[in-house]
Subunit: 319 residues, 2 copies
């Protein structure tokens, strides 16, 4: 049970966050188009766990990213970006099985339809170096992306098992999307099983609907908790979030006053929440800090913005 | 035996060229960089057989492209480009097995290293529609790309077999590159077997070296002919080409006077050669016309340039 007014006890380890999963290229159209008629694209550092790592580092906590890139120029670019940001890239594996993964997407006024180029990312292996870095960490985080295919799925299963044995805090972004999964695999079923093995999940309303069909917010909370997870953070976009630990359900309003770009708002939340948890804040306070960092991000364009230290944002939002 | 001073007898069919293989997105950096530090990329229509089809249509002959794209916006863009150019796109298959294939490459002063994102292209199936279009054609062309993987390889084998039975002219671009092939497959061996089943090949010196190791030009010609092909066009960049039918070997100088960009020069050659063959020119004359179209292309930047009708280029180069 995660009492909202208590801290989460973390182990005394040299690294704070261990992010497992995708690091990739976001190739984003320069103009707003819904149909890929746009001719010009810009290349960005991407992948949700990697973005969270970048943010968390800026907020002041230590992160390691475990992911796989190709033996190509885009892989070198990504590794270089991590290193420049001061993030440990020792667990970035270079594989010859495919190119550095990429998502091509058009800026859109409505909902953009990304095109996924899965390459190296799902060849992430469970290695000695990976295990060592994992066991030196307090928190492990992953999303649905590595679960959706091959070798990476087995690696995440081993990570979960090892992390449970060693009592790391295990957090999962159940951002389930059927498009990412191999044909014929029950992705939703697999994600539900995984939810039962972790401590904290942060589904969006869309994620919840893709997993369970259409229900009320309260029903979604019950459904996630029913799978065995200890804390559910159900995000509702501009309507904030509802969070439940099974005993208490709390509503959080958005702290955003100005919305320039919603890209990466979820990743910003995670990074603020983690930074606050690591720094010893209560769960209730860490959630508020997550929403504050998210609100700070929303004022700027891009997935990764120039975040200040957590303490600065805490003061700015009067928390 | 293809006598240089004779025409190639083609069957009386409604379509001239049947191009089988890749249609894809070329994502090319805006600036010259060798290491993918460039942030901006432009999206182009690409794939060698598809570029040849575009050129050949402009020169005045009928083409069909048989290829596979994903159920995505980039696939729709490619199909739309073909249709806008007046090319039959009935044999473009839309598959759910992967995204529209893409090649990301930086403009480079030296040799650029492309990154291949293979998706839909290698899922090209041999269908009733494909066979019908094939049997309505005079010439079939393919490159190494579809041979390098899975379903597309089987499809090309069936195309070759059907084309031989029905006496189409079969031409093959043996642009072998080990990077494209699955690990553990003897790509070079497979390409050599394929060369023995076709009428005409146009290797570059680099292709020849990748297939046979380092030898003289004359040895390369012998090696290709030894595999059973009837005509070998060995291109030598700025040094023109050497062509052999096994009995006569002829040297062709480049007709280029001005080189703005070498991208697509080989595809331009093929299209000029095909247009001239279809229009009843002798092999010797058709080769010269191919080099003329290539020289015309070299004056402009880009893989596909605004070619005039073949007769205009013929007059321009005094052929």
């Amino acid at each position: 049970m995660f009492n909202f007014d208590q801290r989460i006890e973390l182990q005394n380890k040299s690294n704070d966050l261990f992010m497992a999963g995708e690091i990739l290229i976001d190739m984003i159209s320069a103009d707003y188009t819904d149909d890929f008629t746009c001719r010009t694209y810009h290349r960005f550092f991407g992948g949700s766990p990697s973005n969270i790592a970048m943010n968390a580092k800026k907020l002041g906590i230590q992160t390691v990213v475990a992911s796989a890139v190709g033996e190509d120029g885009l892989g070198s670019f990504l590794i270089n970006e991590l290193k420049t940001a001061g993030i440990n890239a020792d667990c970035i594996q270079r594989v010859t099985d495919g190119p550095t993964s990429m998502v091509v997407v058009t800026k859109s006024q409505s909902t953009p339809t990304p095109i996924f180029y899965r390459g190296a990312d799902y060849h992430l292996s469970y290695t000695v170096e990976l295990e060592e870095a994992l066991l030196n960490s307090k928190i492990v985080h992953f999303s649905c992306w590595p679960l959706s295919r091959g070798t990476a799925r087995d690696t995440i299963e081993k990570i979960i098992s090892k992390a449970r044995m060693n009592k790391l805090l295990i957090c999962f972004d159940p951002n389930y999307h059927p498009m990412l999964w191999e044909n014929g695999v029950d992705g939703a079923g697999y994600v539900k099983t995984t939810i039962g093995k972790v401590d904290i999940v942060k589904p969006s309303e869309d994620d919840a609907e893709r997993l369970f069909g259409k229900h009320t917010h309260e029903q979604y909370l019950e459904m996630f908790l029913g799978l065995g997870v200890k804390l559910v953070i159900l995000t509702l976009g501009k309507d904030g979030a509802i969070v439940s630990n099974g005993m208490e359900t709390a509503r959080f309003n958005t702290l955003a006053t100005e919305v320039a770009d919603t890209t990466g708002a979820g990743d910003a939340f995670w990074s603020g929440f983690y930074a606050a948890i690591v720094k010893g804040h209560t769960i209730r306070h860490a959630l508020a800090m997550g929403f504050a960092v998210s609100a700070y991000k929303l004022k700027s364009i891009g997935a990764i913005v120039d975040l200040p230290k957590l303490e600065f944002i805490q003061e700015m939002y009067g928390l």
